[in-house]
Amino acid sequence: MGALVPTVSLKDVVKTYSNGHEALRGVSLDVSRSEVVGIVGPSGCGKSTLLRTVNGLEPIQGGSIALDGEIITVPGTSWPAIRAKVGMVFQKYDLFPHLTVMGNLLLAPTKVAKVSKAEARSRALALLERVGLADRADDLPRQLSGGQQQRVAIVRALMMEPEVLLLDEITASLDPEMVREVLDVVLGLARDGMTMLIVTHEMDFARAIADRIIFMDEGKIVEVAPPSRFFTAPESPRAQQFLNTFTFQEVHHHDE
């Protein structure tokens, strides 16, 4: 049955903040194993909120969310246990500043998953090697650049061997020259079959990595399309309008 059950399944998810703001107004989405879903849309459209509902950082007010067919938005759910299976990386590279790179990587595996320190350490070194930071294991976060910190944050999420990875605008606070090194790591994960939900403003990146693009506006999914079609011929007027904001008219200087 495994292949038919979506890894992540959202049904009519509603998120209303206590001030009455409706961030999600009935969102349904199935993500299958090894699928990469790119979520785009104007700021405030609910795309980050959507990610945060999947690991329970935002409790929902309506609908349901299932992980591997099991509904997790019911009372009594142990969120720490769910979150151990759902990796998340945020916009702010939020390493724990009082711990070394290795300390950051070992915390969750040893405290949550109860993996032995030696085992977690060898996995950490292998993953650091993969993102090109094996020599920085004993450094403190403040000694790393933003791009390096964000790569460590990705490795920290991978240490728990998550079934799905949520990436929330992970390059939005980086200097432009550091965006590439972070996105290359994510491209590598996609090639290895990691299931991912990616919220991003990097349209070229979304186009290259995603199997499907979800376009959101005002708390709803407006359009779902393969990237080749979404970026060349979006169907909805709002998606067309949104994509237009990323292109510029050439300015022609006339001498006459």
Partner: protein
């Protein structure tokens, strides 16, 4: 040749008496600091409360203690509060009580600052990794708060030791009072004694406070959480 004022220090037990006076000052500071830590930590945690009444009460307490000069607090307590309450307290006990009232306020504010300085996304990152709220407190919030708190708390100790010089005015015989006694007693035999005796008092305060101040600086540097601004 007239006798040097420095000789006064080696007359009888004068130097030992000065050290004894320093110990009285240090004892007041250390006991007050210990009590301030015991009371200041819970009060500081209370200060982070969202309850408006608790917030207002702790705020008024902190501002009141900060605005009033310590000397005024000492006088009011030693001369009037004890009278109204009909209790008989020694100068040293009164000093410890007032220094504790002051130290608790200062330390509580440091605790409040250390806790609220931990950004919300540090908590969220911890939760997202599967840590329980208790684990987030234990492994992420507390270690960072303590790193911010301890250097500032150590600095508070030096401020307390310095401020103990005020208690001479409510009759406590601490290092400054002993110095005055020595000077007064030897006014005719050693007219220049005062400069030497005060120099020694200066040196004693320095020898006591400087290492503590260095310790605070060292800890602050060692535990810096974000990168130093580069030039």
């Amino acid at each position: 040749m007239p006798p040097s004022g420095l000789d006064v220090l080696f007359q009888g037990t004068n130097f030992l008496r000065l050290l004894g006076g320093l110990w009285v000052a240090a004892r007041i500071a250390l006991i007050s600091m210990a009590l301030s830590v015991l009371l200041g930590v819970p009060v500081g945690v209370l200060m982070t409360s969202r309850n408006r009444v608790i917030k207002a009460v702790t705020r008024v307490y902190l501002e009141f203690v900060r605005i009033m000069p310590q000397l005024v607090l000492l006088f009011v307590f030693y001369f009037y509060v004890t009278m109204i309450l009909r209790v008989n307290l020694s100068g040293e006990t009164s000093a410890i009580i007032i220094f504790t009232v002051w130290g608790t306020a200062e330390l509580a504010d440091l605790v409040r600052g250390a806790i609220t300085s931990i950004p919300a996304h540090q908590y969220e990152t911890g939760y997202a990794l599967g840590l329980t709220p208790l684990q987030v407190q234990m492994h992420i919030v507390l270690p960072q708060s303590i790193r911010r708190l301890i250097p500032a708390a150590v600095n508070l100790v030096t401020r307390m030791i310095k401020t103990t010089s005020l208690v001479v005015l409510i009759g406590v015989v601490e290092v400054l009072k002993v110095a005055q006694q020595i000077i007064d007693f030897n006014r005719f035999t050693y007219p220049t004694a005062s400069i030497w005796v005060y120099a020694v008092v200066f040196a004693l305060y320095f020898i006591t406070c400087y290492p503590i101040s260095l310790l605070a600086k060292g800890l602050e540097k060692k535990w810096a959480l974000s990168s130093q601004p580069s030039h």
